[in-house]
Amino acid sequence: MKQFIVCDPNKCVGCQICELACAVEKTGHLDIARTRIFNIRVDPSLVMSVTCRLCESPTCVASCPREALSQDPETGIIHIDEEACVGCGWCVEACEFGVIIQDAEKTTVEICDLCVGRSIPACVEYCPKEALSVSTPVQIGQQTRKEVLGELLQELIKA
């Protein structure tokens, strides 16, 4: 079952540590400009991190004129063929979450690969608030239902 990185906006405090953890993992340097997860503050009270959602029928893959992008049928992870990619940026534009990066010094694009080969993605490991997790859509649904019922229960107790 496909898994991806999920951020709970109630737990996320906007510390940006996930960005640095990602950059270190992927580049070997404290090079935050190369992060593949993005911590965003839309508003002082709305903060969360977002990265590749491993979409079904991903628009990034469809948009690539050179077929440099492909999706692993098992894991859903987007693979980039660095030989084929010419850095045209169509996929950057096509991604509905804005999580594909094109580094100024590289001609190819980069995207979250869930730190494949690592026991746990770096961003998840370093998140100090346990706001990030690797989840499946089934798990996300279960968690949400649990929380909603928990809130209902609290209201019943109060009433």
Partner: protein, 613 residues
């Protein structure tokens, strides 16, 4: 030398010139960064005896030694200038994205001199320093200024430090804000920016930061971040520092109505707990902070509907009980206004409290206040005053000078209840019941500041009897001050200090892994001492005399008004004894001057030579 870039960006606004100075690693290690480096750069670049709001003053900004790395709570910067509020050292700290970004742009520090002919903002775009017109920004509030600059440059990664309208108008306690709501709050550094026609410094820093041992540093950082989720940070994480309200009120140490009372009858409804239940919207963190103490609050109904601000204890105390205000909604509104105008919430609140006492005593009347009824507790009047202070309209022009100069101007005994030291208004702890802290406030180089002193800790933790005085408090206050200075140079947020088992041991390890430089724990302690002496040296150079180290008359004349320790006095003799003891502990003369040998011992002998020239 890693982590550091070894580069200082010098900017001359009058000539619109900039250049980069390369720092010697030995020099860097003397000050580490942050408040130490900024103070040293100020000493070297401000004209001795300068008018704080004249062209001869300089602004020195330095990030901490570990900014740009993953070390928890290390993303901070110091802004130093000769203070228009005190005439002495003004060193003010802030944090978050802007701090990290300056390091990523390739700088450890900046020095700004001269005065721009027109409203200007600087755009530090990695290696380029660009002078840009701030005509369209002049008159804009802080948050809007940040957004307007980002929009103009067209890159969301650009981080902005700026002044609001209060800074433009050179209100003596205007602050420099960054990242929507972080402030280099105290001592009026924002007025210095305003006097230089400097509206903002925008930074785009996209370079990697190199460290000596990345793997080792990150492992230690992860451990500290996990450790920062425990008991030592519980208050900060759960209620923020607003949790102090009920604790201090219970102890009878919550300054109320301009320090006329020390218990506030309305404390429950302005407590951190009440805030959590009724006004909190979200807890957020500075960039790089695993604790997250910032409590974003919002007013959802009534007169102040829509007001939003992050509320910490000092803001709460100054705009709340100190002004006799026991309703959270106007406090949030007042903090929101201060943030947007770019005013220090603490000096604003305590100066308004002084005005309220003047009004109740008939020293100020309705004809002075444009009809505002400045009774304690009148929040509508308090909010109207904030706007007048920021714009320097009517009575606001007087109050914009701060409680010291305003009270000197109108006299009539109002000086005795102007609650400041050296011009800087007091924080929210009652000094009559915290005597080591009282000493710390009196001798503080930037004036009354709990964060530079930290001497409330031995009092609050019961390491000493907080209600009595004896010899020995001098060295305790000194050690607290040196530790605070060390934290401010490495730049660890003080809220993480409880998460170390042995701060000095662990700090040198972080420092070594990041910079590759070996520093002993003794070296580290000496940096704190050196920087405290350097700040004092600056003050002496700018005209400090012994009389400046003292407390407001109210604290020495009236006994502690309320609470369990009601009636406790802090006498001038007790204060004198502690100050003399402190000077002796520091190795200073009886008049509080630094002997040449002491400067030499701290490696500051070049200052003695400078003074002779």
């Amino acid at each position: 030398m890693y982590s550091y870039t070894g580069r200082v960006l010098h900017v001359e606004l009058s000539r619109r010139e900039s250049h980069v100075e390369v720092l010697d690693p030995d020099f860097v290690q003397e000050y580490l960064g942050g408040a130490g480096l900024a103070t040293r750069l100020l000493v070297d670049n401000a004209e001795p005896g300068c008018d704080p709001l004249g062209e001869g003053n300089a602004v020195a900004i330095a990030v901490g030694a570990l900014a740009g790395t993953m070390v928890p709570c290390s993303g901070k910067h110091a802004v130093a200038a000769k203070s228009p509020l005190t005439g002495f050292i003004g060193d003010s700290l802030s944090s978050s994205y802007w701090s990290h970004t300056l390091r990523r742009a390739g700088y450890d520090a900046m020095v700004i001199k001269g005065k721009a002919a027109e409203p200007t903002y600087l755009f530090v775009d990695n290696e380029h320093a660009l002078f840009r017109s701030a005509d369209a920004l002049w008159g804009k509030e802080s948050f809007a200024t940040e957004e307007a600059i980002r929009a103009e440059i067209g890159d969301g990664r650009v981080r902005v430090a700026c002044i609001g309208v209060a800074g433009e108008k050179q209100v003596s306690y205007a602050c420099v804000g960054n990242d929507r709501g972080r402030q280099a709050g105290r001592t009026g550094v924002g007025a210095v920016w305003g006097s230089k026609n400097l509206k903002a410094i925008a930074v785009r820093g996209t370079k990697p930061v190199a460290v000596a041992d990345l793997e080792g540093l990150n492992k230690l950082s992860l451990d500290l971040a996990k450790g920062a989720q425990g008991l030592p940070t519980a208050k900060y994480r759960i209620t923020g520092t607003a949790g102090n309200v009920l604790t201090l009120n219970r102890l009878g140490l919550l300054p109320t109505r301009n320090f006329r009372n020390s218990v506030f009858e309305g404390a429950e409804e302005i407590s951190g707990e009440f805030m959590q239940a009724n006004f909190k919207e979200k807890t957020v963190a500075c960039s790089g902070c695993p604790i997250a103490c910032e409590q974003v609050t919002r007013v959802r109904e009534g007169l102040y509907e829509g007001a939003r601000a992050s509320i910490d204890y000092e803001t709460l105390y100054a705009l709340g009980p100190c002004c006799g205000i026991g309703d959270f909604k106007p406090i949030i509104k007042a903090a929101d206004l201060c943030d947007r105008y770019g005013l220090d919430t603490m000096s604003t609140g305590v100066t308004i409290a002084w005005a309220m006492e003047c009004y109740e005593r008939g020293i100020l009347t309705a004809s002075d206040t444009d009809g505002l009824e400045l009774n304690f507790g009148n929040h509508e009047a308090s909010i109207a005053l904030i706007e007048r202070i920021a714009l320097r309209e009517g009575i606001g022009d007087l109050l914009a000078k701060g409680s010291k100069r305003a009270s000197e101007q109108i006299g009539q005994g109002s000086e005795t209840f102007a609650m400041h030291v050296k011009g800087l208004e007091l924080p929210g702890y009652e000094p009559r019941g915290l005597k080591t802290y009282a000493l710390g406030l009196a001798v503080g180089t930037r004036g009354a500041c709990h964060n530079r002193s930290l001497a409330y800790e031995p009092d609050m933790k019961g390491q000493v009897d907080r209600l009595t005085v004896e010899k020995g408090r001098g060295s305790i206050a000194m050690e607290c001050e040196d530790l605070a200075a060390t934290l401010d140079c490495l730049m660890f947020c003080k809220f993480i200090r409880g998460c170390f088992n042995d701060f000095h041991e662990e700090a040198v390890e972080f420092y070594r892994l990041a910079t590759g430089l070996d520093l002993t724990t003794e070296d580290l302690k000496q940096v704190g001492e050196r920087v405290c002496n350097l700040k004092k040296y600056f003050n002496i150079r700018e005209g400090w005399t012994k009389e400046a180290d003292w407390l407001p008359a109210r604290l020495l004349e009236d006994p502690l008004p309320d609470g369990g320790d009601q009636g406790t006095t802090l006498t001038p003799e007790e204060l004198r004894l502690m100050i003399d003891d402190y000077y002796a502990a520091r190795g200073w003369t009886e008049d509080g001057l630094i002997p040449a040998e002491k400067l030499a011992e701290l490696g500051l002998e070049d200052l003695t030579q400078k003074a002779r020239q």
